[in-house]
Symmetry: C2
Subunit: 422 residues, 2 copies
């Protein structure tokens, strides 16, 4: 076993935006890393760059065909273009680092296949929570049987908005505007707000935590676009905050419950302390118990720091092993469990109340109704009523219920009567 | 670059206590790890073990001379015996995993030399904060210039005691007893209580964070043995809690301030959320900004989980590079800075008040005096008055002061007069 098997890294970089330029600067200042950017492929040669003109090209082939380049780093915004770069690079037996969560999430099966076929690594620590080394840590969790669950705040932009609403009493609209001004939102903010970015990350986490390959769009998810000021007030009354949480939990039958939904978070939960643009992930396992990783989930330097960590790993020939995927894994996503949720709405007609297994609590005022109840996950998967602009859904702490036994009454709530009262 | 270079690990294990047995169990249940315990060396063959008798020997040489054993895992309590095992194993070109913080901290320079000379890795993630992968993460921080500081709660036993005192209003004595009953204390609890364990860990952190090799006993440190109930009350009044914090900070002149002392911690600090036997480390860097790692810092399974993570790393030939040490590093520990501290005491004669650069605040009642002031670090390094049983010292948040400019008066406090009043 050697500790001196450093590979010299000659890098072909795609993209010279905030992250790319941060990376370039750091590598220039860190000769000890034994990594050097040979060429940068950019889309807009007319833009002024803070680097020698000789470094740049608009021709991807220059990088992909250069036999001296042994690492391709892909940091572009366009996930379709990224797909063709990354797959071309892997088939050319170049190691690849990517920060593109959409690309990874949607094509992970193919990308794993290419890594195996061509025996080259693809690393993407930056694609999930930027500076937080969550993928690497999940990879080193040796056995998925021991991993009980993951709860993460994985989207900085929505978390920033929720923090401003809760801590600084701003409106959702003002807070969104502020997040955009601060540059915490994706180039298309809907990707953040509607939970798309978060569910992409959840799907990457699922592959490394449980060896489950699932297309992000087929996972139950929602964002914060439907939350109302009244929901924040309702949460506060109960001593909660609302966070957008990516959740995965191994059920007793070995199947995995997984979703991205707004969730009430209590003060004792580590996620309660994750504010503004920060991300945080709680990993529960049988051995290590509860681990919490916290850090900046977005931005040029935090993302560059994750890319650098991948580069550093390439020097000792590190590659993800996806061993949970290889071990004849029978883990699969299930929607056969119940959730304790709060549904908030204006007009009772929007909510098919026979969807609930049980109504636990009911409150309404002239602006808004809040119903707390138990609902089967498949009811959410198979319906769309809870995606109406005027309806919001928030999961309770410990809201995943296995083996729910009905039989209790609806807390004395006569919904037909309630309907007439609204 | 290969992602299939798995090395089959044949393990010789020293020690079969809580951690050793946990490790054995997990490896038995995890054939996919491609790691197998060939032999276990124990001290007491008469003890009943939950493993086949054929696995055990009392002869260290059987393990160290077996050419099929390529990994030695050392999990024994006696750091002198551990030293001879680990050095023998390295010189026999076997990879080594150790959880022994005292051994690593006190002999790190020699152990690094042996790794280089014999080109074999020594990994010891479990030696610092057990399940929290802090060493691996510091190693992958590519450049020490970018690492601004570390603050950590690295001793679970003292943190457990402080939590019980603060959150459950127990006395220090009762809380210590409880920690011992819960098994969170070292076999010699003084090692925890007096800060020895914490400063061992700080010295390991310093090597990986800044490439500074320093004997733990030469670092400024204290434990919680002198804290009084009145100190807890004083802290609470100001909205603080007291935690035992291992702190390292890179000063503007490139030198490193480093110490383990009780510290007031504010609610916004991530360390505030670290309670009971948990550990937490905040790493501040220019790129990633602030990262926080939290998890169980002690116990059989959390420690075994760190050992497993090291085993997993050995499969792809990972070794610490100590690159911050190699890069002609000029970083060194300094005591040339000021600290804002609270000194609490019963008898003013115990505290040489001309030690202070400035007194900011003074309060006293019939039980206790509290003086808040600015003191030069070298005053603490070169004196012992603050180690008297009846004196306690607590550092304020952001208490490291660079370039302190005297000139302000002593907040109107006439210490000679105060002395007469006590």
């Amino acid at each position: 076993m050697s500790i001196q098997n450093q590979t010299k890294l000659n890098i072909g970089l795609f993209g010279f935006g905030v992250v790319g330029e941060s990376l370039y600067k750091v590598l220039e200042q860190t000769p000890t890393l034994n990594a050097h950017i040979s060429k940068v492929c950019i889309k807009h040669p007319e833009k002024l760059r803070n680097a020698p003109a000789s470094l740049f090209t608009t021709d991807a082939e220059t990088l992909l065909n250069d036999p001296n380049i042994n690492v391709i780093i892909e940091l572009i915004d366009d996930s379709d273009a990224a797909y063709s770069i990354v797959t071309r690079a892997l088939t050319s037996r170049k190691a690849v680092i990517s920060a593109n969560k959409k690309l990874i999430a949607e094509h992970i099966e193919e990308l794993i296949g290419l890594q195996r076929q061509y025996n080259v690594p693809l690393l993407y620590e930056a694609a999930c929570c930027a500076s937080i080394p969550v993928i690497r840590n999940l990879e080193e969790y040796y056995d998925n049987d021991l991993l009980q669950g993951i709860s993460g705040i994985v989207n900085g932009s929505t978390n920033y908005i929720l923090t401003k609403v809760f801590r600084e009493k701003k409106t959702f609209a003002d807070a969104l505007l502020e997040a955009q001004l601060e540059g915490f939102a994706e180039s298309n903010p809907a990707l953040d707000i509607e939970g798309t970015d978060a569910v992409n990350k959840l799907s990457i986490l699922l592959a490394h935590a449980y060896g489950v390959i699932v297309h992000p769009q087929s996972l139950l998810h929602n964002g914060i676009q439907q939350l109302k000021a009244e929901d924040a007030a309702f949460a506060k009354e109960k001593g909660y905050e609302i966070k957008l949480v990516a959740r995965a939990k191994k059920l007793q039958n070995g199947k995995i419950a997984a979703f991205v939904l707004p969730q009430f978070v209590v003060g004792e939960d580590q996620l309660y302390t994750v504010n503004n643009e920060y991300n945080g992930v709680v990993i529960e396992s049988s051995l290590a118990d509860k681990q919490f990783f916290y850090g900046k989930g977005a931005g040029g330097f935090p993302t560059a720091s994750a890319v650098l960590s991948d580069l550093s790993a390439l020097r000792y020939n590190y590659g993800y092993e996806y061993k949970k995927l290889s071990n004849n894994n029978t883990a699969a996503i299930t929607s056969d469990f119940h959730l304790k949720v709060c549904i908030s709405f204006k007009d009772l007609l929007q909510v098919p109340h026979d969807s609930f297994e049980r109504i636990i609590e009911w409150s309404s005022n002239e602006n808004r109704c809040h119903v707390t109840g138990i609902i089967h996950c498949s009811e959410l998967v198979n319906s769309k009523w809870w995606k109406q602009p005027d309806v919001s859904i928030i999961v309770y702490p410990n809201g995943i219920i296995e083996n729910y036994r009905p039989g209790k009454t609806n807390a004395g709530v006569n919904l037909e009567l309630a309907e007439q009262l609204v």
